[in-house]
């Protein structure tokens, strides 16, 4: 039925093109496969040098570390996929931590505390989203403002002091300190969040819209995507996941600290970027972010096991971040010049 049937044309413009093959090439794995090799190599090297690395306690420790930073990094992934950035995650954690601790201290039921915390974080993230979509502010500026205001808010509400809560709320400790099937609860939470995020990005229209908006916002608009709603949503998601992280932190420390989450945004951005998500938007994956979190966690673990000075650790971490991004840019340059 094709009108161009029989018009094979010279097809000289792309030598050796084949017909469409229903091959399932999973693009995200291709991109991150290099990183997975790096991670594996690190683990193998560590295991060879120090058998303590494979000690089950240590492995669980590393998994826990991945989970603690991974949750907020997944939120950051959504944001960076749209070519945005969220500098306020640390402050959202602080406000949520302080408010939840205060609620626990006056005896609020735990399910309500959880709900309230998540609502607070999502609300702050939504404010970011509104400022960026309706207000037209660049994400860097809007979330920077929220970062500063949020920190101030946390300090003001708490008077600058950590908020502790009474002993009866012991059962709240399960969230951050408990174990389920011998793995720490945060690890399960992270697994659920990661699975959910992966599904959304891969198998929902919203997920596609996120990639489209990040690749080319004008083309997205002309293709009929509601750009404003998509952008708003990713910031709300980031706020939600920041709040979730805060609840876990509060449970782990049994205090709500107004200084909680300082520097968390940089960790999350580093993890996301190492995991292959482009700061220019449109490229990245949940799997990449998981691997990024794992690389950072394993690296810190290795350096700890070998007694490397904490100061040196920072140098190494910074160098890895730069190296990882350089590596990703090289790969991108090579793949685009091959056209």
């Amino acid at each position: 039925m094709s009108p161009v049937e029989g018009q094979s044309g010279a097809a000289s413009s792309s030598a050796g093109l084949s017909r469409l093959l229903p091959r399932l090439r999973r693009l995200s794995t291709l991109r991150t496969s290099g990183l997975i090799w790096v991670l594996l190599a690190m683990c193998i090297a560590a295991a060879i040098i120090s058998p303590a690395f494979l000690n089950p306690f240590n492995v669980i420790n590393v998994l826990r570390q991945i989970a603690l930073f991974g949750i907020v990094s997944i939120g950051m992934t959504f944001v960076i996929l749209t070519a945005g950035i969220d500098l306020s995650v640390g402050s959202i954690v602080a406000v949520t931590a302080v408010i939840s601790a205060m609620l626990l201290d006056v005896g609020t039921a735990i399910p309500l505390v959880l709900l309230a915390g998540l609502v607070v974080g999502t609300a702050m993230g939504s404010l970011n989203g509104l400022g960026i979509t309706l207000g037209g502010m660049p994400p860097f500026i809007m979330t920077l403002g929220m970062m500063v205001m949020g920190r101030g808010l946390a300090m003001t509400i708490s008077g600058g002091h950590p908020i502790h809560f009474r002993e009866e709320a012991e059962s709240f400790a399960w969230l951050g300190q408990g174990h389920f099937l011998s793995l720490p609860v945060p690890v399960w939470i992270f697994a659920a969040v990661a699975a959910g995020a992966w599904f959304i990005l891969r198998y929902t229209a919203f997920g596609r819209n996120v990639y489209a908006v990040g690749s080319n916002p004008e083309a997205a608009r002309l293709s009929g995507i509601d750009v404003g709603r998509t952008i708003f949503s990713v910031y709300a998601i980031s706020g939600f996941l920041s709040a979730l992280t805060a609840l876990i932190f509060v449970s782990r420390l049994t205090v709500g600290e107004p200084v909680a989450g300082m520097g968390l945004e940089l960790e999350a951005i580093a993890i996301t970027v190492i995991g292959g998500t482009s700061l220019f938007g449109g490229e990245g994956s949940v799997i990449g972010t998981i691997v990024g979190a794992a690389i950072i966690a394993v690296l810190a673990n290795i350096l700890n096991l070998f007694g490397v000075s904490p100061f040196t650790q920072q140098i190494v971490k910074g160098a890895i971040i730069v190296a990882a991004v350089l590596f990703e840019m090289q790969r991108r340059r090579r793949s685009s010049s091959a056209s």
Binding site: G9, L21, R208
Partner: protein
Amino acid sequence: MVDEGPDRGHDTPPLLEMTGITKTFPGVVALNGVDFAVRVGEVHGLVGENGAGKSTLIKVLAGADSADHGSIRIDGRQIANTTPLRMIELGIAVIYQELMQAPHLTVAENIFLGRLPKSRFGLIDWPRLNAESLAVMQRLGFRVDPRARLSQLSVAQRQMVEIASALSRNARIVVLDEPSAVLGGSELARLFEIIRRLAGEGVGFIYISHRLQEVFTVCDRVTVLRDGSVVGTRPVGEVDTQTLIGMMVGRELADIYPRRNRRSGAPVLAVVGLTRGRTLTDVDLEVRQGEILGICGLAGSGRTELLRALIGADAAQSRSYRLRGRPFRMSSPRVAIRHGVSLLPEDRKTEGCFLPQSVAFNVTISRLDTLKNGALLSSRRERSIVGDLVRRLNIRTPAAETRVRQLSGGNQQKCMIARSLNAKCAILLIDEPTRGVDVGAKHEIYQLLAHLADAEGAAIVMVSSELPEILGLSDRIVVMRDGRVAGRFERAEASEEALMACAVGAREMAA
């Protein structure tokens, strides 16, 4: 037509002589023993489909790439070490389609970019800079205030500035890569004048264009490349469009434009009094089912703005807007697509395609619920839907997962059309359907559009700068000038001269 000038340079060595140029990249031979020469004062056209090797040849000439084999001679002297800097010093200047300019700097600064004249103390000598800029522009027969900021100039003027910059470096061979892509009729005429004037002074030109009529207008000889090899070099007087196309494509294309079975139905989109600020004033327009409505006019006449306003991408007011006979408020592209109206924007790369994403992504993005299995998207459904469309439109791609960035212009355009079809849009607004598309794919796209209109009853509104295209495909034609409708034509009564005259304003035609 320019005289070959037998007394020009036949016994002296050619200005430029590239011999046996071969260049391979992994897996593909880009240039295969290419011989290409330009005489002193010659305007030499270079044509070929996308991927034929034109850009690679120019890159080798400019020193950006080095050939694996072959030699380059300028004035008979072989150039051993070709670096970009060296080639510029030797007088090679390339004016790319994407102008390499600094929009926030002044005209004079742009002309002398990187070589600003300095005074005794090492500071910039502004008076000298402006004076020398004026001198160069005078040579071109073109003048703007050298202190004006570049962003304030029109695209045509910016192109002139670029040429001035090349001249100020004493360019002896100027390569023009698709210069007319951004120019309208009168600007193009001026460009040709300048080319002839400079050629008269001995500057050699290499003129690359997909628009063959231009080659006939301004060039002395023309070389056709196909698949990295030279098919032939001929004086322009000895060939015609058909022959050239035949050489480019490797076969005779009997009919570039498909035969149409014209049968129009009821109006599906009708707007009265469409106005947007100063860019559109009181435009009445109507397109019918099964019809192709062509819109032409000079650059800046409001053609693109018209399409954007029709689809709600830009805010506009109208006295009446009816979609399929019923009043409608076109508030956004989202609403438009949901009601079956889609836009293929003028600039595919920046406004249309999601370059880093796959073909499948690009094709399905406007309407994802056809892929849904419950709440989630089904890869199986996607594969089948995308596979169908790829086959139907003959989109040449290794796989549905290939990134659109890697496709040729023609196939990218077909993806855009596929996107509209997937979104079940029967009213297509297309801005420059074959810009950056090579001849073979152009033909396919024309066939496709004709089929959509004739066999499937789609209504197509098509903006184009190529009058032959407008005349070849349209049922009715609207000419825009300064944001208004300057004339309406039925296909039968239209001709290139009439359309151009109307666009330029020489004669008003009855609406």
